[in-house]
Amino acid sequence: MRWKVILNSVLLTTLFLSPLAGQKRSAPHSAGTASRLEPFRSFAILDAKLSLLTSQQASLEASLNGRAPESGASTPAQSRAKLLNSMRVTSAEIRRLTAHLQSRYARQHRAFGVKILKLLRARANAVHRDIYVLQRAHTESSARVADERLGKGIVALVLQFQAVSGGYATTQCAAQEWTCCEPKRTKDLMPGVQAACRWTCLPHSNKCTGLLGPRIPRSPR
């Protein structure tokens, strides 16, 4: 009789609590999956944001040269203001992404990762600031100077993004190996970048001295 009571209670517990347990497990699992894909996931988003930023900049250049007013804007000044607002939103998103990546590697105590992402973040901050300066420019000449500065800032951001992300798609690691962006030697650095790395494969995560990336899954997804 007693064993029946125990069996019933076990069955009831399993029936009622298992869906809850499943729910509890599923939420952190999906967040964990996204996290496990870093920094590739953030690189893909950054890539899209940079495409947007450079295309917005092209429209801005056209507007500054009085060629292409933004749709819905009645005057070139309104068009420029609208474009600069959009650029500020995009650059803010780039800043947020780079800050997120930097803090992630700071939590993992990965010095090189922090260093290279700090550079990327500094470039993103500079672009954001340059957009603000251009927004505040009151004269045509000051707008030209600010625009030129913004152009150089965007090139510097692109170069640093390439220095940290370039080649991440070329790794051909075996299952269960780790992807890692190993620091490039100073003599191998190209002009225009202060730090760069090269994506490679490693058998253990603790062998990575640079930016640790995702582990290649063993079984097919």
Binding site: T54, A62, V155, F161, Q162, M190, R221
Partner: protein
């Protein structure tokens, strides 16, 4: 009427009587030749070839990394929807280590889809487990909501993690590819595991099918540009003077590609000579062989050796690009950016994506990007 004439007339009569029987036998023979024991026929290969051709020449393509990882392909042309399920017949084929496609064999698909439109279904099998399952006739496909099959328009450069799957499916309506939504099973064992013979072991049908396959696998929609320098080719004393020299060297390295009905060896799409003249290498829509993992990018090589380590005194040609070369490079990049909507950050040096000094530390890359950035106005203008 003599005996000889009578015999001849009798023979003619017998032949006339036998004609319907002979015609029937001939027709039966033809039907038997094109129909395999599993019920598939050469029409399936023909339909699959047409579906591959449509997809290869469509506006969107499958990223290079996915195509390079593909071990087998299943093509189910014109998949129609019934009430609750969808069924279709098609073909499957796998490639060996030397990149040669094996003979296609008949397969069937049974499952369901959310769309009501008729589509061509393509399943790319990416690992050995998937290949084994396909060959034994029990490959299951299901779309993953978290990671849809990448396309050049959505994921220009997928990573190894993105392609670490058993299979990926795509659908095409009128040659326009999209990520697959179908869920179901591919049945039909390969000849290696069952008695079913290959479809069209030889002949024109198979040649057309293979050509269509190559067309899909060797064509690209360029998503970026990789800048190279030629340096000095091994066994030479000076940088190459034209694409012919590069072609011969790359032929010796085995950089062969069959694209648009021709064989190409030169790995780059363009070569810029010291006087600024631009020579075409392989066509823009053909996959390059200049940067592993980035061969969906266009390869432009500037003649010279711009590395201060490898060519300190200029004994190996130009130590930095000439003004004419830079002007041509800017013009070419501008045209290509306009044509393929290439974003600025997708213009890279070979050294940015690979362990190499190419195109050398003396190559003025940041000024080039600056010039291209200004010239994005031209992109805007031409788009309007």
């Amino acid at each position: 009427m003599n005996r000889k004439q009578t015999r001849l007339r009798n023979l003619r009569c017998s032949a006339l009587k036998l004609t319907p029987l002979l015609v029937s036998l001939l027709l039966l023979g033809c039907t038997h030749r094109t129909k395999s024991p599993t019920g598939a026929n050469s029409g399936q290969v023909k339909d699959a070839t047409a579906a591959l051709d449509r997809a290869a020449h469509g506006p969107n393509t499958i990223p290079d990394a996915v195509l390079n990882a593909t071990k087998c392909i299943v093509v189910i042309p014109s998949l129609h929807e019934d009430t609750a399920t969808v069924n279709g017949a098609g073909v499957a084929s796998c490639r060996d280590a030397s990149n040669q496609w094996g003979a296609p064999w008949p397969v069937t698909f049974e499952g369901n889809r959310s769309q009501a439109q008729a589509v061509d279904l393509f399943v790319l099998v990416l690992n050995d487990t998937g290949m084994r399952n396909l060959r034994s006739g029990r490959l299951q496909i299901s779309p993953s909501p978290s990671s849809l099959a990448p396309l050049v328009s959505t994921t220009p450069v997928p990573t190894q993690v993105d392609v670490s799957r058993e299979s990926m499916s795509y659908e095409a309506v009128g040659g326009v590819l999209s990520s697959g939504q179908a869920k179901g099973a591919i049945a039909g064992a390969s000849p290696a595991t069952a008695a079913a013979p290959n479809l069209l072991e030889t002949g024109r049908g198979r040649a057309s099918y293979e050509s269509a396959l190559m067309s899909l696998f060797n064509r690209i929609v360029p998503t970026g540009i990789v800048i190279h320098h030629t340096a000095v080719l091994p066994m030479a004393t000076a940088p190459p003077a034209n694409t012919g020299e590069v072609d011969r060297y790359h032929e010796s390295r085995g950089f062969e590609i069959v694209c648009e009905g021709r064989v190409y060896h030169v790995a780059y799409h363009y070569l810029i000579l010291p006087d600024g003249r631009v020579q075409a290498g392989r066509p823009e829509r053909c996959e390059g062989a200049h940067a592993r993992g980035y061969n969906s990018y266009l390869g432009i090589s500037v003649v010279g050796d711009f590395s201060s380590r490898d060519n300190p005194s200029g004994s190996k040609g130009l130590i930095r690009p000439s003004e004419a070369q830079i002007a041509s490079l800017v013009r070419l990049c501008r045209e290509l950016r306009t044509r393929y909507r290439i974003p600025l950050q997708h213009i890279v040096r070979h050294s940015d994506i690979s362990s190499t000094q190419c195109p050398g530390d003396r190559f003025p890359f940041a000024p080039l990007l600056g010039k291209l950035q200004d010239q994005s106005i031209a992109v805007q203008k031409s788009n309007r």
